[in-house]
């Protein structure tokens, strides 16, 4: 006899675990399966875990801002569960969005006003007071160090910044997923690791369960794809699901750098998260007084779409495998070196290379599918970590509503935010949508 659950969730990262947690709270008997050895060990572990509200769409801003409330109230959200590994911490540094041509900051500000996000406008003197080593020249457009113009002297200054005091980052993204797993277990959720899914079984247009690589079959009337960079492979295993998506996902290679802060700047304790479209980078503090330097994917940078299994096995060669490249190290560190001129850049790259599960328009797909009982929370595009607890609740309610008969494709589910009391049309994240041209088509979302 196959073991049977109400819902099987494929993936135990920071999106898969809260879906389990919320479904358990609603009375579902859940099982998360993950091919890795523990919760949060996949692309969640490589996430920069930034918590900021600036998105290019109003719904994007609203979702992120709702997420803030969960991170600020982490222990309560998790039902004060104990985790033997300790609890992830929300580092509420505040978040600086530099006003630049690299971001449509006016749109962000409009969205902030519409949603009610708290923010303060900073002039250049105020930025300098808060970030003493900063150089506020305008370096736009973003270029690569291979381009001689990269070294041109700047002549103009930036305009200022929008500071959002509630923003920040989570200090240990893998641990945060582990915390949510422990909270889900406390509500009866089960987790199975080192378990790779090779088939999604279905009968008469209805999902019936999964088959693992070792041949084990597990049955459930609900299966949720939260496979991260493997999401497109999971969708392809389920009858008619891949074909039924107008928006597809694929995995994008992404490098994040760790560069020591200047010695006279205690960035770890005094620093802010900062999005700097003018140089195409975002930064946050990291343990060891390091700058964590992410890229906002400027047009001049190469995009490498890779096979996730090949990538994680270290295959594909220079620029496509899971090793940092010297070229991108210099690009990201030197870009930040313009903004922080006392930043010393070591010769050997240090950082993280991982994958984004990226959708066609860089907006996620939170939806049902063309196969009854099969759902997906995919295409998180490097920008959904902060939304994970909200997405967990929203997906659980969507699944519950659909299982009770809602035709979400015809009559999109309306999700009411618990804290900000706004209503979100979940149809915004539909797999059937046309490409959303309001998107930034980047990690900015």
């Amino acid at each position: 006899m196959n073991k049977k659950y109400d819902a099987i969730i494929i993936g135990a990262g920071v999106i898969g675990t809260p879906i389990a947690f919320e479904l358990c709270k609603m009375g579902y008997k859940t099982l998360n399966v993950d091919k890795l050895p523990d919760a949060g060990e996949g692309s969640t572990a490589g996430s920069c875990a930034i918590v900021r509200a600036h998105y290019s769409t109003e719904d994007g801003v609203a979702l992120a801002y709702e997420g803030f409330k969960y991170w600020l109230d982490w222990e309560n959200y998790l039902g004060n569960v104990t985790d033997e590994k300790g609890m992830a911490k929300y580092m509420n540094t505040g978040s600086i969005l530099l006003k630049s041509e690299g971001h449509d900051w006016r749109k962000v500000q409009k969205n902030y006003d519409a949603v009610g996000v708290k923010y303060i406008e900073w002039d250049l003197d105020t930025i300098k007071k808060h970030v003493p080593p900063i150089d506020l020249h305008k370096f736009w457009p973003v270029r690569r160090p291979e381009d001689p113009k990269f070294f041109d002297e700047p002549t103009e200054m930036l305009e200022g910044a929008i500071f959002c005091p509630e923003g920040g980052y989570v200090n240990d993204p893998a641990l945060s997923a582990h915390n949510i797993m422990r909270a889900a277990e406390a509500k009866g959720g089960e987790f199975m690791f080192n378990a790779e899914v090779v088939d999604i079984r279905s009968e008469n247009g209805k999902v019936t369960g999964i088959t693992l690589k070792d041949g084990t079959q597990i049955d459930a009337g609900i299966v949720v794809n939260v496979g991260g960079p493997h999401s497109f492979k999971i969708n392809q295993m389920a009858e008619g699901v891949w074909e039924g998506c107008n928006i597809k996902t694929k995995s994008l290679r992404h490098e994040v750098m760790y560069c020591p802060s200047p010695e006279d700047y205690d960035y770890l304790n005094d620093g802010y998260h900062m999005s700097d479209g003018d140089i195409g980078c975002y930064v946050r503090p990291e343990v060891g007084n390091l700058f964590l330097i992410g890229s906002e994917d400027p047009d001049c940078d190469p995009q490498e779409w890779v096979d996730p299994d090949e990538f994680y096995a270290g295959k594909g060669g220079h620029g496509r495998d899971n090793v940092l490249t010297d070229e991108q190290w210099k690009a990201q560190c030197y870009r930040l070196g313009k903004r922080i001129p006392t930043l010393q850049v070591p010769n050997q790259p240090k950082g993280v290379v991982d994958l984004y599960d990226c959708s066609d328009d860089w907006i996620p797909v939170y939806d049902k599918s063309d196969l009854d009982g099969f759902y997906m929370a995919i295409g998180t595009s490097g920008n959904q970590y902060k939304n994970a607890p909200v997405v967990g609740r929203m997906m659980a309610e969507l699944i519950d509503a659909c299982e009770k008969g809602l035709d979400h494709d015809k009559e999109p589910f309306q999700y009411e935010f618990k804290y900000t009391k706004r209503t979100l049309n979940v149809g915004f994240f539909s797999r059937k949508r046309e490409i959303n041209y309001d998107s930034s088509f980047s990690v900015n979302g």
């Binding site: 220079h318 090793v323 030197y334 850049v345 070591p346 010769n347 050997q348």
Partner: protein, 256 residues
């Protein structure tokens, strides 16, 4: 003072290294300044501060791409660069002869820094061979340097952490160890300045060095296959910590 720093363009130790044809590596990986040479360049820049009219010349033998490593050395304080260009993979005899010839052709060294070894071939010979060709004294794994009354007072670290302090007549050759300093990595303005510093490229053939009396060449490269046997440590955090300490003391013998 003319300060020469011999630097090597080596593969990044974090790269996925693949062996091609049994005798060489696939060079489609990141190459950078040999980490021990970072200490050598940093020390040269420190020395220049005490002897302001000094000229620091970074010298590197390698393929055209080695110019990137010279740029790194210049961003860390070298004033100019010399590349001895060759596509050949040279043994330490040829390398030392080439670097010696390039330095002689360029000027008159007061001190020659190198790293104590390169992280790719780990030969630890080239600095001694350069010293022999010049007839200069050589010490390696230097962890401190002071120039006093025209002599170099150098402390070197020996096996087991013991140290020995030498007084060397100048000119001399010093192999920099990790303990010598903290590498002074470049800022973006340093990188900008380094772009304008001159690099002279000399072909190995044009140096006309006589062939060495002997030679060494790689006939087989074998990758190290690490056999990992992961074991889960169970118990309370305190029990786990105790078990980790036991493993480090008794099995790995890395702490006492």
């Amino acid at each position: 003072m003319q300060i020469y720093v011999c630097v090597k363009h080596v593969p990044d130790s974090a790269a996925n290294i693949h062996i091609l044809g049994n005798t060489q590596i696939d060079e489609k990986v990141a190459f950078l300044l040999n980490p021990y040479d970072e200490h050598a360049v940093t020390e040269a820049a420190v020395l220049k501060k005490t002897v302001p009219d000094s000229d620091i010349i970074a010298v590197c033998m390698g393929k055209k791409d080695a110019e990137k490593t010279i740029r790194s050395a210049m961003a860390m304080g070298a004033d100019r660069g010399l590349v001895v260009e060759t596509d050949a993979v040279c043994d330490s005899m040829t390398t030392a002869r080439a670097l010696h010839a390039a330095i002689v052709q360029d000027g008159s060294p007061d001190i020659i820094f190198t790293g104590k070894e390169s992280i790719d071939s780990e030969g630890m010979q080239t600095l001694f061979r350069i010293g022999a060709l010049f007839d200069f004294p050589v010490v390696t794994n230097a962890v401190s340097l002071e120039i006093k009354s025209g002599k170099a007072v150098v402390t070197c670290e020996l096996a087991g952490g013991r140290t020995r302090t030498f007084q060397l007549a100048l000119p001399c050759v010093l192999g920099a160890g990790r303990g010598l300093n903290t590498p002074n990595y470049p800022t973006f303005p340093d990188v900008v300045k380094a772009r304008k510093k001159p690099i002279q490229t000399i072909s190995l053939d044009s140096l006309g060095i006589p062939p060495g009396p002997g030679s060494a060449k790689i006939v087989a490269l074998e990758p190290l296959i690490q056999k990992r046997r992961p074991k889960k440590i169970l118990g309370t955090p305190a029990e786990q910590a105790k078990e980790i300490i036991r493993i480090l003391q008794q099995d790995a013998k890395v702490i006492s």
